[in-house]
Subunit: 252 residues, 2 copies
């Protein structure tokens, strides 16, 4: 699909790999970043899975998602230590061999002196057969892409650099646009008229997100999403008008 053919949907899944996220030791910072960047450029993130450093679990998650979505991204598990098993797991998922890739080895040598390029560090040059490399502007050890699966590091700064390196090559759809309307009302006060608006506009997605402001007052963010700016604007106007009506009734 080309960017011109923007009516088609481009979707993605994300597999976050790491015991440390599931144990709570590390608070993931990659999901939010990837979600935001993909949304901006017109790739819809449709599912995320967090799995442990267990080959069988990584293979299952990647294979489940890669047949459902245009792209699958993974984060984590591509360092030099024994618990970094992502590259081998991806090779297994695709049923291809894996070995030290001379291109990846050359990249490592831009950053690491040859005398320090021990067997452990060379593990970072293990790339499944047929994969292309994803440049790592931060610390050189590359990610890779095989088929529709893009394998990135788990360290946020490195992951972000790899994501930016790979995004230009990917197909994009029309970005999902959004407008947020603030309602000085509780969700339960606007739910019925909001549902009517949602029903009238099945081509938009309307989300309702309650929160408390600094004074502890319950308010609601209403988010209208669609791929056409004019539609988003028109439906957001309807929501705004509805909210003003409800606020008047409530005297807020």
């Amino acid at each position: 699909m080309s960017e011109a053919d923007g009516a088609q949907m481009v979707s993605a899944g994300l597999v976050v790999i790491g015991d440390e996220v599931l144990s709570g030791r590390t608070k993931d910072k990659n999901i939010g970043h990837i979600a935001e960047r993909l949304t901006e450029i017109g790739i819809d993130l449709r599912e995320v899975r967090i799995v442990p450093d267990v080959e069988e679990d990584i293979v299952a998650a990647v294979n489940a998602l890669r047949h459902r979505f245009t792209y699958v991204f993974t984060t984590g598990g591509i360092g030099p230590t024994h618990d970094d098993i992502t590259a081998d797991s991806i090779a297994k998922a695709f049923g291809v061999s894996i070995d030290i890739d001379p291109r990846a080895r050359a990249m490592l040598l831009e950053y690491i002196a040859e005398k320090d390029l021990n067997d452990a560090r060379l593990r970072m040059a293990r790339i499944p057969a047929g994969a292309s490399l994803v440049v790592n502007a931060v610390s050189k050890a590359p990610g890779f892409r095989i088929g529709n699966v893009i394998v990135m590091a788990g360290v946020p700064r490195i992951m972000q650099a790899m994501l930016e390196a790979v995004l230009p090559e990917l197909d994009k759809g029309r970005p999902m646009l959004s407008q947020t309307v603030l309602a000085d009302a509780k969700e339960g006060d606007i739910a019925a008229p909001l549902a009517e608006i949602a029903k009238r506009h099945p081509d938009t997605i309307i989300g309702s997100y309650p929160f408390r402001d600094e004074d502890g007052r319950f308010k609601t963010h209403l988010v209208v999403r669609a791929r056409e700016q004019a539609l988003v604007g028109a439906v957001a106007d309807e929501v705004r008008e509805m909210v003003q009506g409800v606020q008047k009734l409530l005297g807020s």
Copy 2:
């Protein structure tokens, strides 16, 4: 399983429900909290899935995980608006009916005046047949538990209150314990001896997490995990000794 029978593993899956997390609008704060709490009390979080507000996706995720793990937690989608479809999706996943539950309605009336209990708010009292309720100490509208699935709110404060309300009823295993060793060395410098230690102790899990300190120096946290304190201590000692040897070699 009773707590006395602590040798058995108690596992959990988590399904985070919400378009807003997948679009990047909302940065999830629940996964880290749940991961940490479950780990503390001896329930191993084994997989997390983030899915959109789409019935089919919620049903698929819940059904996939509830047959694999002791418990499945869900967050999000139990408010009063049209996009809150979790309760209905869970009923569908279990193949049971769903209706307004008088117990849940009574809870709502502790917080909401009868005149304000409109149809939208009553949606929050829709509970699948056969479910028990999970008390909400913050804003009353309850979560629920059906079979091994525990359904909680998405707003962090409310989710946390529901989690604390339900944890005492759950089976627990022996908590996974951990000790962290700080290495003033890069991952690649310690990877080989670390792998040897890991190989000698297949009953522990050893993770390696690189980071940069404030001065931009690469260091590594090595985390030893097991369910026996003595084992964790002994292996952490081995790791510490190995690290000191490597640091001496590197002159760091």
